[in-house]
Subunit: 269 residues, 2 copies
């Protein structure tokens, strides 16, 4: 299974927790972890490579040099790294036809095979949209995006690399960013939703991109079905969205203890 991550040094520890949880809960799989980065040091890469090979999986690092994406507009607060996810198809090996992108603020608590094997047909991506109505309405207004039907979360993206190489145009992305640069809040997610929403296959938010801030909301909306028992046994991907992260000192949240448990398994055993 091909996994894609695009991190800088600040996320090295969470990335390892994410990987550890994924390895543990998918014992039958062989993982190839593609890492697109530009700023990681040699010793950081070596340590990550060691960690992954200790678990009998493989790291494949793709280092982006300065002249890549040289025409890309840069937004305040954001580096070129925001493009790595959107333009992965341009820098990953040309024979790779499918990859599952995962944010590092995730833990994988059940199997990924069903998601990975999803039939993508003519879709560029598979992703979950976060259905909470207020958020969707706000984003529609902000981006003025006629094409946008749902607001997809870009933290979990199954990518149809073959089709992306045909259909995704760097210049189109750069032009979009340039045009809307004062209005983009989460640039890669905004681009994804504005340019490609119709080419995204919708996957279950509850199963594959469960926003850990919304436990009560999900339980209510499902009339009690999606309770803790359901989540622990059926959700594959828990996503710690938002500014407060479970590795921060004063984090609070219903999955805090579970995150810390995987963190312990990652660094203390």
């Amino acid at each position: 299974m091909n996994i894609l991550v695009t991190i800088n040094a600040n996320y090295l520890k969470p990335l390892q927790v994410m990987l550890k949880s994924m390895f543990i809960n998918n014992p039958q799989e062989e993982f190839y972890v593609y890492l697109i980065h530009s700023s990681l040091k040699e010793e950081e890469l070596t340590a990550l490579d060691q960690f992954i090979s200790d678990h009998n999986h493989q790291l494949r690092a793709v280092t982006i040099s300065d002249d890549y994406f040289k025409d890309a507009p840069i937004l305040m607060h954001y580096t070129k790294e925001m493009y790595y996810r959107l333009l992965a198809c341009k820098v990953l090996p040309p024979d790779l036809d499918r990859v599952l992108y995962l944010d590092p603020d995730i833990i994988v608590i059940n199997e990924l095979k069903t998601l990975y094997q999803l039939d993508l047909a003519d879709y560029l991506y598979a992703a979950a949209y976060h259905k909470r109505v207020p958020i969707r309405e706000i984003n529609k207004i902000r981006l003025n995006a006629y094409e946008m039907e749902e607001y997809y979360n870009s933290g979990v993206l199954l990518m149809n690399l073959q089709l992306q190489r045909e259909l995704i145009d760097e210049q189109e992305i750069f032009d979009f960013v340039d045009k809307y640069k004062n209005r983009l809040i989460m640039p890669d997610q905004d681009v994804l939703n504005s340019l490609y929403a119709k080419r995204i296959k919708t996957i279950s938010e509850i199963k594959y991109n469960y926003d850990t801030r919304y436990y009560i909301y999900y339980r209510l909306m499902s009339k009690g079905e999606v309770d803790m028992d359901y989540v622990i046994n059926n959700t594959s991907i828990l996503h710690f969205c938002g500014k407060k992260k479970p590795w921060h000192k004063n984090y609070r949240g219903v999955f805090h203890a579970l995150y810390k448990h995987y963190e312990k398994l990652t660094f203390r055993s």
Copy 2:
């Protein structure tokens, strides 16, 4: 390591979760699980025996027949099972000199060896008292117990069986229960505190009998030291005290996800 449990059929599932968590987090240990019971069916015992031996540990069941403790007063709502913990030394094999009693509403998330090897010297038990001042004051008044200095929780008890056989007198316990029968709320715990408090060695509540209802309280009282990171890495025994249990449908609590995680490991892998 000798473990003691005293359950009825209602607690068979939680018991397995407790045992599973203990096995996982104490991979170097060999466990002998003593079970004192009177009401479990043959097939329930067989299934439990299978579960434990599947994990390469041993079950040693002690069945209590009706004529045991025939002089014991019975309290409303309570069966004779309340005495199994207090009088374990009378029914366990005479060559057994030490056993660690654990409630079934517990998960063991770190090592038990340090606790188990504690020097008991002239103490009958080692136990943690729950320090919250209001509770202690209430209990002192209720039992009028001149001898009681702290209110020990009977959910985790390291037992000095050799000394108990010398010093614990069944009749003394029965007399006490008879005298206070209208005032006892948690009979075995009340007996323990009233008759034996001075013979109990105090162990750390945070490490060995962490009351999961009091996460915020512990964190505050420790000025932030005993936060989630500390608990996950240092606490050995999480105790889900109180009426609301994490295997109930509408449970809420900071360790809910972690409990469900161990429940999944117990029954679905």
